[in-house]
């Protein structure tokens, strides 16, 4: 990272910590906010948070590694999460899986080269009555089929 970028990021993080509170119980909210802004939480960002909260950087990393919605490696701007738990699985979720993989040319867990889209699996989204379900960042789509799933991806691009 360039020094300029670092300075800019430091400022952003300082501002976030100031608004959300520089105590331990704000840590998750702070990390969620950083994730939202940069699509992941870089080593540098982790160190900054640790410095401002006066905790060890490993503490920050241990939180990121625990929660499946937080990432320490770059992710796409849009994270697509396809539910693979039983009620969705019974509604032909596999077909959607195949269709989106082919469309983007990547596997689940991977990000497109242009850093736009990351594909992820997720567990039950609480939409089982209108399965199969998928999240695009925080937006939820229900009763999707391979065609509509691909259409959603196209609109992101």
């Amino acid at each position: 990272m360039l020094v300029l970028e670092k300075n800019a990021q430091s400022e952003v993080i300082e501002e976030l910590v100031k608004n959300l509170g520089n105590n331990r119980s704000s840590l998750l909210e702070i990390l969620q906010a950083i994730q939202k802004r940069y699509n992941f939480i870089s080593d540098f960002a982790q160190q900054e948070v640790a410095r401002l909260l006066n905790i060890h950087p490993v503490e920050v990393y241990s939180i990121i590694s625990f929660y499946s919605f937080l990432y320490s490696k770059p992710r796409g701007r849009n994270i697509i999460r396809l539910c693979r738990t039983i009620s969705c699985n019974m509604k032909a979720q596999k077909n959607i899986e195949e269709a989106v993989k082919k469309e983007l040319g990547i596997n689940f867990g991977e990000t497109t080269k242009d850093r736009r889209i990351t594909l992820e699996y997720t567990n039950c989204l609480g939409m089982c009555d209108v399965a199969p379900a998928m999240l695009d960042n925080e937006r939820v789509y229900t009763r999707i089929d391979p065609e509509t799933a691909v259409k959603i991806l196209k609109e992101i691009k």
Partner: protein
């Protein structure tokens, strides 16, 4: 494809979905006073709707009796059990019930702060919840000196989770709120004494809290008219899988599985998973059983499988879920679930001995009492119940490459 932000379904039901006017419960609660609130909740026989079924009045009384300068009310909206989505409907369509339940709880035990732990997957409803809270503040149903009660301040904030099923376990939830990994704590001490930041804390499920305003306005006796002796009131069931009308249903406790299947239009049903992945699988021969704490207990998840489903695939899906969601803190759960999943894959390939499968069943029974929290203590339920109830289908030499059905 549709987004579900404004589901238009008109719902009706005997208890939770019965008529309620916003604000009524708080007014009535203030008139009654703390003692009488506790009395009505006790009379109602309300038990926790989050799965464990702990008597709500007892939890509240213990927290009320704890001495501390600060106390907290936490609404557990982490709804992560596979096949459960009733809390989604309550939060989106009946926020007045949930939030007023929290205010009444706060008033009763002397807390000033409520926290909704909303699962990360439900971020899309955050805006509508924040808007509703803001409206309550304008009407002075939240904030300082609520509707003129000068000695009572109470506000609610929303905290977003980040994709971890185990954070629904109450002590893991508190760890998470405190900014740590969501790893369950040893209990005791219980949150009623040592909860959020060490203060006495009530953790209640969304549906439990949503029952409170009804109980306060209509009375504990009215509530217990519904249901059975041991399971009073009604329950929201999240019904999914093979049926014509999946969705959220309010039915009195004591409804039989057979009756529920008729209501939701399920045909050719082979099995029903009661209580989500951590619940048990009930075969056709037991559909006369009733949904109640004393028989087929459930936090509300009902997943229906028809004759064409491959129950081994269903079981595999559940075990994959647990392997992924185990927090990894204790060995029986971290390793045990992996071993059970491996066993299922061996059966899938036809590469197993009954001696080994029986060893795995022993392992499962060991997990039940050696795992640290409810996740590892119940992840074996589908393993034992599916292998037992569907052994003819699963241990069938023809299943490999044969014509045995499919899960999807």
């Amino acid at each position: 494809m549709e987004t579900l932000l404004n589901s238009q379904k008109k719902r009706g039901g005997p208890v939770l979905f019965s008529r309620y006017k916003g604000g009524e419960g708080i007014h009535k609660a203030f008139e009654m006073g703390r003692e009488n609130i506790l009395f009505e909740v006790k009379t109602s026989g309300l038990k926790g709707r989050g799965g464990a079924g702990f008597p709500t009045a007892t939890k509240w009384m213990l927290t009320a009796a704890s001495v501390s300068d600060k106390k907290f009310i936490i609404c557990n909206a982490d709804e992560g059990e596979p096949g459960t989505f009733k809390d989604r409907v309550l939060l989106l369509e009946y926020p007045e019930l949930v939030f007023e339940g929290m205010v009444i709880a706060g008033y009763t035990i002397g807390a000033n702060q409520g926290i909704v732990y909303l699962r990360g997957e439900y971020e899309y409803m955050r805006k509508s919840l924040e808007d509703y809270l803001e409206m309550m503040r304008k009407e002075n149903l939240l904030g300082k000196a609520i509707i003129g009660k000068t000695d009572f301040n109470f506000d609610i904030k929303i905290h977003l989770g980040s994709g971890a099923y185990v954070c629904g376990e109450e002590t893991a939830l508190i760890e998470s709120l405190e900014g740590s990994r969501g790893e369950p704590r040893n209990r005791p001490p219980y949150p009623v004494n040592t909860g959020y930041k060490g203060h006495p804390t009530i953790v209640n499920n969304v549906e439990t809290l949503a029952s409170i305003p009804h109980i306060i306005t209509k009375g504990g006796e009215w509530f217990r008219k519904y249901g059975t002796e041991k399971s009073t009131g009604s329950k929201l069931f999240s019904v999914s899988g093979d049926c014509e009308k999946p969705g959220v249903y309010e039915l009195p406790w004591g409804t039989s599985i057979k009756e529920l299947l008729e209501v939701v239009g399920a045909k050719d049903t082979k099995a029903v998973q009661i209580g989500g992945a951590s619940g048990t699988c009930v075969p056709k021969s037991q559909f006369h059983r009733i949904l109640a704490f004393e028989d087929a207990a459930t936090g509300g998840s009902v997943i229906i499988f028809n004759e064409n489903r491959d129950m081994l695939k269903v079981l595999k899906n559940f075990m994959e879920f647990f392997v992924e969601e185990s927090c990894g803190q204790c060995t029986p759960c971290r390793i045990g679930n992996v071993k059970l999943l491996e066993g299922i894959e061996m059966i899938e390939r036809g590469n197993y001995t009954f001696t080994y499968i029986n060893n795995l069943k022993d392992l499962a029974r060991t997990m039940q009492f050696s795992a640290k929290c409810g996740l590892g203590q119940s992840s074996l339920n589908p393993f034992l119940s599916i292998l037992e109830n569907f052994k003819d289908e699963i241990f069938n030499p023809c299943r490999n490459g044969g014509s045995n059905g499919k899960a999807s």
